[in-house]
């Protein structure tokens, strides 16, 4: 146990005996008040045992509390959070020595809290609030997130229903033997799947082993050459794509692919009726859609024959934006700074995409050719990555609100 931890433990023990110097119900004189809020100073300092978060008082009376955090010299610490159990009530990030102090104010009811300093020798410092316990202080954030998630469920179902219509149109076009019409129908059907693919990943039909791709709807609908399971064979969107854009021929086999696609998408719509999402599912789903952009679209792997990768890209982004939008009102209460950052990065990505729009191209975006990938892939990847990084932090916020 470090020296600091011992001294805190000793302090805690003393307080049990009710010594006035410890602060608490009878004595909160140690903490000063400013504008009606009790002031608590958190200093991040580097000591001989490592970095530490030090509080000028570890006990205050219930009511508005302002935490002022300053990183004096602790190079290993960047973040401080006020925790109520697993719930993050308030926090400051991007703290580094040399930067100005940061503050956050919360109205706290009586109870045991913790100051959480990731990376410190003692990461969790107990913080006591005396007086009456407040009602759930962030209940409204949690409510907003839950209601947002419910709305999002409707969005996903609508997309799946539209996808059924889209693949039925594709089947009709294929059956008619009109190649150009079928190619157009393919591009029209893709967006629905790309907006929600992270929500339907890994759906395994009843009676199938989870390791058997024959029962995995996502696999059957969206398999690519690179993840082809020999035991299952070709199927789904990209099987149709290969025939329409590489062979440029509609055969009996193409018609069979299109018919199977309709069957599987219809099954997906059936399963989709029972979908329910928790806020962190939306957060994880949004980040996963961006991962899809990085791993499948920027590489040009997804639409290897039709080169409409930028169409998928735009729809992955739109899907992520929808999930984020559903969480946004609640998130704003949890972490307004993060919301601002994510907003700005979504704008950066969508602004970037704007430059690739081309109404004359299939799907409304320029074809993602090898040349375009060589010249623009790096830039696109960097913009998406910076959005993906912040979206990766959403789940934690949503789950702990």
């Amino acid at each position: 146990m470090s020296r600091k931890a011992i001294s805190l433990a000793a302090l805690a023990a003393l307080c049990v005996t009710g010594l006035a110097a410890c602060g608490g119900e009878n004595d909160d004189s140690k903490a000063t008040k400013k504008g009606g809020a009790t002031q608590v100073a958190v200093s991040m300092v580097s000591g001989s045992d490592g970095d530490a978060c030090e509080l000028d008082t570890d006990s205050v009376a219930a009511g508005p509390v302002t935490f002022t955090v300053k990183n004096e010299s602790a190079a290993g610490l960047t973040e401080v959070e006020l925790m109520d159990g697993q719930k993050i009530l308030g926090e400051k990030e991007n703290l580094a020595p040399g930067l100005a102090e940061a503050t956050f104010t919360l109205t706290l009811g009586g109870g045991d809290y913790e100051i959480y300093c990731p990376g410190a020798t003692q990461e969790r410092v107990p913080f006591k609030v005396t007086g009456e316990a407040a009602a759930e202080p962030t209940g409204d954030a949690a409510e907003l997130l839950a209601s947002g998630s419910k709305d999002y469920t409707t969005y996903v179902r609508t997309q799946i229903d539209s996808m059924v219509v889209g693949v039925e149109n594709l089947q009709k076009a294929v059956d008619s033997g009109d190649l150009a019409k079928a190619q157009q129908a393919y591009a029209d059907a893709r967006p629905f799947y790309e907006k929600i693919e992270s929500d339907v990943e890994g759906f395994v039909m009843d009676g199938f082993d989870p390791t058997d791709n024959k029962g995995n709807l996502d696999y059957l609908i969206d398999m690519r050459a690179s993840n082809l399971d020999e035991a299952v064979g070709w199927s789904g969107f990209h099987a149709v794509e290969r025939d329409l854009f590489q062979a440029k021929k509609i055969t009996a086999q193409t018609k069979k692919y299109a018919a199977d696609l309709v069957t599987n998408v219809t099954k997906l719509a059936e399963v989709g009726k029972s979908l329910e999402f928790k806020p962190e599912d939306l957060a994880n789903g949004a980040a996963a859609l961006l991962e899809e952009v990085q791993s499948g679209k920027i590489t040009g792997e997804e639409e290897a024959y039709s080169h409409i990768d930028l169409v998928d890209f735009a729809n992955n982004v739109e899907g992520a934006q929808q999930a984020y939008a559903a969480l946004r009102p609640g998130l704003e209460k949890v972490d307004a700074e993060l919301v601002k950052t994510i907003d700005a990065r979504f704008t950066a990505v969508t602004d970037d995409l704007e430059g690739y729009k081309d109404t004359k191209s299939l799907g409304g975006y320029r074809p993602y050719t090898a040349e375009l990938k060589a010249s623009d892939g790096k830039k696109l990847s960097a913009t998406v990555q910076s959005l993906q990084d912040v979206l990766g932090r959403l789940a934690e916020k949503a789950a702990t609100a």
Partner: protein, 416 residues
């Protein structure tokens, strides 16, 4: 998760080249005769527990620091629209992260206590020793254009390197708003550091080009002269004393911004070697090209590596050291006494499009006035015999601010 205190590492001591088991088994340069290479000096052994202090308040590490075995160098561009305030926070976070990583500690948690948490540190250097990691920040001339509110705040002598004779520069290997140099005796420690710093910068900076260097190609104080990929000792006459550093490397000009005084100007050149062609040349040609012999590294006018070259020496009516040899052209005697601190690394990028070894020297030089390098290279680029075997394909210049004191960050005064 808090960092474990770092004890005596299992991997602490690794003998340097020429030390330990290598001795005796090695074959000398001359005709297969068994000859022990010179014993490594004590400081050529690697002590992986060595850690440098970031907060020196004086010169940044990674300049006068004896070169470590591995390098990861990255040039970055600041994203359009980034504000000076955002850059300030980035520099503060980078500084803190650099200080932490140089101690061998992770930056934040490797394993967050909450399952929903994304690890702050990627973890691949966890439990590895500090390995003499040094992290050095450089600021490029383009940082001080009018995009980020920094115009007019740059160091006086920070200007793009002009086009030099013989340059075969590729735009994608040149320039950059910022540079991060990581040097360490464990390649993974250096890589982790750059990865972590670029991760902190995502959204504000994008990567422009990078070089992975190995087998340091320049010696520092107390180090045996290393060899470049031509098999030649490189940097025998490098700057090694504090007096020379003061005279040639550290910026002292009172007209420079305060944060630049005690700093230096960093010039990088990516130099491709025609490895296969060089490998097919006779040793006599190799000697004549460089102006030194290969095994000992002695000037052709002398016998021992550190013999002072005699550029006036004549044999059979011909100069012993060709005046267009690399050594003759680069010698301070022939350049008005000018010296630069070289801190280069060998690099390889595998194979080029023709199936040839894609490798060479990532030249790094520090000097108080970039013009010193420009003058030198202007001369070398025109007539150096070595030019037949090399091509300069990348070029960049960065201002290296002085190091902050504890509680501060790099170039803090820039944002005052």
């Amino acid at each position: 998760m808090s960092a474990e205190p770092r004890g005596f590492s299992r991997r602490r001591l690794i003998a340097g080249a020429g030390g330990g088991a290598v001795v005796g088994a090695a074959v000398g340069f001359a005709g297969g005769r068994a000859a022990s290479p010179a014993q490594a000096s004590a400081s050529d052994a690697l002590d992986l527990s060595t850690a440098y202090d970031f907060y020196t308040g004086d010169h940044q590490v990674g300049i006068a620091t004896p070169p470590q075995r591995h390098l990861v160098f990255m040039s970055l561009d600041v994203v359009e629209g980034t504000t000076a305030e955002q850059l300030k926070v980035l520099f503060a976070r980078w500084s803190a992260a650099m200080a932490t990583m140089m101690k061998g500690d992770p930056v934040g948690s490797v394993e967050p206590s909450r399952a929903n948490g994304v690890p702050q540190d990627t973890g691949e250097a966890y439990d590895l020793s500090p390995a003499s990691l040094t992290l050095t920040l450089g600021l490029g001339p383009t940082l001080f254009d009018d995009r980020f509110g920094l115009a007019g705040k740059g160091p006086r002598l920070l200007e793009e390197i002009p086009r030099l004779p013989g340059d075969e520069l590729q735009a994608e290997l040149c320039g950059g708003d910022l540079a991060l140099q990581a040097c360490a005796d464990d390649p993974q420690v250096a890589y982790h550091a750059i990865r972590g710093l670029t991760r902190i910068g995502r959204g504000l900076v994008t990567t422009r080009w990078t070089v992975l260097g190995f087998g340091r190609a320049s010696a520092g104080k107390g180090q045996k002269t290393p060899r470049n990929l031509m098999g030649l000792k490189d940097g025998t006459r490098n700057i090694k004393t504090d007096e020379e550093l003061d005279e040639f490397v550290w910026v002292t000009d009172p007209d420079e911004p305060a944060w630049m005084r005690g700093g230096s100007y960093l010039v990088t050149r990516k130099i491709n070697m025609d490895i296969e062609v060089w490998d097919g040349t006779t040793v006599e040609t190799q000697h004549a090209t460089i102006g030194r012999d290969k095994g000992e590294g002695a000037p052709l006018s002398g016998e021992k590596e550190f013999d002072t070259p005699d550029f006036k020496a004549v044999r059979h009516g011909e100069p012993v050291i060709d005046p267009t040899s690399h050594v003759a052209l680069a010698a301070s005697e022939n350049n008005g006494g000018a010296k630069i601190l070289r801190r280069g690394y060998n690099f390889t990028d595998g194979l080029n499009s023709l199936g040839q070894l894609d490798a060479g020297l990532f030249f790094i030089a520090f000097q108080k006035d970039p013009e010193t390098f420009v003058d030198l290279q202007r001369k070398l680029g025109r007539v150096d015999l070595l030019n037949e075997y090399i091509a300069h394909v990348g070029s960049a210049i960065f201002a290296v601010p002085r190091a902050p004191r504890s509680g501060h960050f790099l170039a803090q005064e820039l944002f005052g």
